[in-house]
Symmetry: C2
């Protein structure tokens, strides 16, 4: 790939993740990358499309990993459905492991959910994977009403996003540099119970 383009992508990924998309200026990016401002617009078109390129580059391997893991679990369990915990592991573990290998990108993903930029991003880069995951979850929890399942998945994304952002809410209480695999276990335990929680009565009624 083009050298200039790649340098821009690398610096942008880091700065967007560290400071947030809105708080990072293109001029900051080009200064650190040592390229010209117009080069950004030549290669990417706009600041938002640059973000899109950053997300695409990071999301592709992540999504492949998630699908591969899910298929592994499906093969293991077939013809029975995969256990809820394993479905959760297939989506949560690769995501949080990114925190280790590329903390900037992981943080960026956490931020995007909050900055309201995710809806479009989700559609462009994560939809097929998310749909695949929803299907697996539906087979694992056949009695859970459709709508309730979607709500719970939204709750899950929220919890994941918050986790990707780090220990920012309670920096003192969650002191140690928490081993990632431990956080994965904590999150999965929490989510698995949530997904298997009793369905509120009205939600059962709504189901036909």
């Amino acid at each position: 790939m083009n050298k200039t383009k790649e340098k821009i992508l690398n610096i942008a990924e880091r700065l967007f993740g560290e400071q947030g998309y809105g708080a990072t200026s293109l001029r900051q990016v080009i200064a650190e990358a040592g390229v010209n401002l117009a080069a950004v617009h030549y290669h990417f078109g706009s600041k938002e499309e640059l973000l899109d390129a950053v997300v695409l580059r990071g999301a592709s391997p992540l999504n492949e990993e998630r699908i591969a893991l899910l298929e592994h679990y499906e093969g293991e369990a077939a013809p029975a459905p995969v256990a809820v915990e394993k479905v959760l592991h297939a989506i949560v573990a690769p995501t949080l492991m990114k925190l280790k290998r590329s903390p900037q990108f992981a943080q960026l993903m956490g931020r995007l959910l909050g900055e309201g930029l995710m809806p479009g991003m989700l559609g462009r880069h994560f939809k097929p994977t998310v749909d695949r995951f929803i299907g697996a979850m539906r087979r694992s929890l056949p009695d859970l009403p459709q709508e309730e399942l979607f709500w719970r998945i939204q709750f899950m994304f929220g919890a994941m996003a918050q986790t990707l952002l780090g220990r920012h809410l309670f920096p003192e209480a969650l002191g140690g540099p928490a081993d990632t695999s431990e956080v994965v276990d904590r999150l999965i335990s929490f989510l698995a119970a949530g997904f298997q929680a009793p369905v509120p009565q009205f939600a059962k009624d709504q189901e036909k």
Copy 2:
């Protein structure tokens, strides 16, 4: 209160919530409010301090409501600890009810939480309430290790933030204009199970 100041606060609350803080310009605010640009800086000092004022105005009654509800449940249960579901209700219900009365402010809070809470916002406007809530939760779940409790609270804030942002992730699947009290029930059922989930083995070991 001053008429100009109030108009700025109202418009800013709406625009920050609808478009996000970063995507909203002060010039847009003053245009809709029909005031001069410098009036913003006279009354608030800066764009960030304006946001702070907006959050303060909305957070105060919200926090009072949460504390009152929690104390009501505590009085009801005393001397026993409050049930987990009720503690959750005391913090979740007033927050989501804001979606009805002031959707813009609720959306704004969702964004801020997801974004990392604009460093300091949590400390300045929500810390006493959150501490109060953590104490109640600790009494309700005396066997849950400290660190695990904090992680779960962080997961909870993530799920809440995502809920405050609305149905943006699955606009088609979560179609209907969902009655707020129903969403509260869904969220509490999910969270209550999560808080009472088994603690991962290593986390038990860490506890002395």
